[in-house]
């Protein structure tokens, strides 16, 4: 029973988190997951995805979801 949390790029280095699992209890939204993992409020420039779909801070999360956080993308 867990939510998988992933971080990429500068967030991965800043928080030293590539991939961790967190208990889903008490976590209702993407913003809740971020606060649980970092102890801080989700900054507006951080992008998120739930199960590989772009999400917003208010997107609901549930057990076994994969929640990812990353900075603005810079491909191409």
């Amino acid at each position: 029973m867990a939510i998988r949390v992933r971080m990429f790029a500068s967030l991965q280095e800043k928080w030293r988190i590539d991939q961790i699992e967190v208990e889903p209890c008490g976590l209702e939204t993407v913003a809740d997951v971020w606060r649980n993992v970092t102890g801080e409020a989700l900054p507006p420039h951080v992008l998120s995805a739930v199960n590989m779909d772009y999400a917003s801070p208010a997107t609901p999360v549930k057990d076994e979801d994969e929640v990812a956080f990353f900075p603005p993308v810079t491909g191409g």
């Binding site: 500068s10 280095e13 995805a49 990812a68 990353f70 900075p71 993308v73 810079t74 191409g76």
Partner: protein, 144 residues
């Protein structure tokens, strides 16, 4: 439509030629628009020695496929492809190629440019540049 992530250098003109030969019917398309993004040895006033391109395996491919589907919902093109590098890249090496085949030029031009802008703003890739001053994550893409 085809999405390829490549961890090794590729020749974009060969990729385009091979996709065209394998996926398009000869005589069916009148217009092909291609964009290639290449790693420069210089960015924002600084020398760049190498680049590392991180991606989100699974989501990156999905998002690129969604971008091609979204483009096809807007323009009546025949086919399209994206090939994108991941991992370590040296100056002069191609990073991305986008190709669009259509009957007439308007659709190919517009869809190709739209796909590149969507890729730049939506596809989960992150560049880290290494130069004389050390390493730094690129914070945002230049506007199109």
């Amino acid at each position: 439509m085809r999405v390829v992530l490549s961890s090794r250098p590729f020749d974009p003109w060969q990729s385009v030629q091979a996709f065209q030969a394998g996926s398009l019917q000869r005589g069916s398309y009148g217009a092909t628009a291609v964009f290639v993004g290449t790693m420069r040895d210089f960015n924002e006033g600084e020398t760049v020695d190498s680049l590392y391109l991180q991606h989100y395996p699974g989501m990156t491919e999905r998002e690129l496929e969604r971008i091609l589907r979204d483009a096809r919902a807007r323009w009546a093109f025949l086919d399209a492809m994206i090939e994108h590098r991941v991992g370590g890249i040296d100056p002069g090496e191609p990073i991305v190629v986008v190709g669009v085949w259509s009957a007439h030029r308007k659709e190919a031009f517009e869809a190709c440019r739209w796909i590149m802008e969507a890729l730049k703003s939506r596809a989960p890739f992150w560049k880290k540049e290494s130069g004389p001053g050390g390493e730094r994550w690129v914070e945002r893409n230049t506007p199109g």
